[in-house]
């Protein structure tokens, strides 16, 4: 508990599951299981496992390894913007 209590912002952190609905509308399918490679450090994590901060004007997904921004998501009245510059790639498996 001590490790978490030392950082007061930890409580505000959620994960990619928290914005799964918005992302599903954008990608026309569930992306929480989609792995993404962090453009900063190379770590690969499922979007559902990425750390998310959702209380600002948009949502930010951060790499669990290096804390770098991997995705930004902003919803306006008629569109959803997904900024993927922090991702080297997203891997969509074909069945």
């Amino acid at each position: 508990m001590e490790e978490a209590a030392a950082d007061p912002t930890i409580d505000l952190m959620v994960d990619g599951n928290a914005i799964a609905g918005a992302l599903e509308m954008a990608f026309s399918g569930d992306v929480t299981v989609v792995p993404g490679r962090c453009a900063h450090c190379g770590a690969i994590n499922a979007i559902g496992a990425m750390h998310a901060y959702v209380r600002g004007p948009g949502a930010v997904l951060r790499c669990p390894s290096c804390d770098g921004v991997v995705l930004r998501v902003v919803e306006t009245t008629d569109a959803t913007y997904v900024d993927l510059r922090g991702a080297a790639y997203l891997r969509f498996e074909r069945s």
Binding site: E3, D11, A18, G21, M25, D30, G48, F92
Partner: protein, 247 residues
């Protein structure tokens, strides 16, 4: 990835049931609901007359085998924007906008064989309850442990049902910990989840167990980091963080 489109649709509240003084289950009837997988959630949207809208996500508590209606179990957050409405205002017959089911990452199905380790803090037990209800309906006998942290005895959500599920002797055992208040005859743990507690509860399952951890972010971080230290492979640990605790 399954390609499809989820849209907002209207659900009718079929029933409400209080689980604890601050936690309520709403049973929703949703025409055209396509079914769900244990662990998924739905998004709920409230829109005021002036157009102001707010959305929240709620884990589906019921098992997919119960398909005509679905349950969401909601903790009342004192200064929340949606939960007080669901607790204080909503009645059977009311209609709510929902979309879902959502999520494929935090999902367990009985077809995933092997030991199952579930860690819940407070209302984080809700998606895990869907998994356990599904597990019972599927007649699974996979070795399973739930470690469930609550603050006080009257706040243990689903207590009676969990005890009944554990009494089936089908491989499930439930360990409780109460962090703020314990009754005099309490036989469970009496502290916040830590490495030693996790090691004791998971010991019979071994390090091949699939783990699902859900609840306040601090608890999820503590438990996930501890499981990694205990030697569980990272790709067998799945997490769903609810954010700050309600109080």
């Amino acid at each position: 990835m399954v390609a499809r489109s989820i849209e907002w649709q209207l659900a009718t509240v079929a029933a409400v049931r209080d689980e604890t003084p601050t936690v309520r289950t709403c049973t929703l009837s949703i025409p055209g609901w396509a079914g769900h997988r244990p662990g998924q959630h739905l998004d709920l949207r409230l829109t005021a007359e002036d157009g102001y809208s707010v959305e929240r996500s709620y884990s589906i508590a019921s098992e997919p085998e119960r398909s005509a209606e679905i349950d969401i179990t909601v903790e009342r957050i004192a200064d929340g924007e949606v939960s007080p409405f669901l607790h204080d205002i909503v009645m059977p017959g009311d209609r709510l906008e929902v979309r879902g089911p959502i999520g494929g990452y935090f999902v367990w199905e009985a077809s995933l064989e092997g030991p199952l380790f579930l860690v819940a803090g407070g209302s984080g037990v809700v998606p895990l309850m869907a998994m356990l209800r599904h597990r019972a309906a599927a007649r699974s006998t996979s070795p399973t442990r739930l470690l469930f942290s609550s603050r006080r005895p009257d706040e243990i959500i689903y207590r009676d049902e969990l005890d009944r599920l554990a009494d089936r002797s089908d491989g499930l055992e439930v360990a409780y910990t109460l962090t703020r208040l314990q009754p005099p005859d309490w036989m469970g743990y009496r502290r916040r989840i830590d490495d030693r507690m996790l090691a004791e509860v998971i010991e019979p399952l071994g390090t091949t167990a699939r783990s699902y951890i859900c609840g306040p972010t601090a608890l999820v971080e503590t438990a996930a980091n501890a499981l990694v230290r205990l030697g569980l492979p990272v790709d067998r640990i799945r997490t769903e963080r609810f954010g700050p605790t309600g109080t």
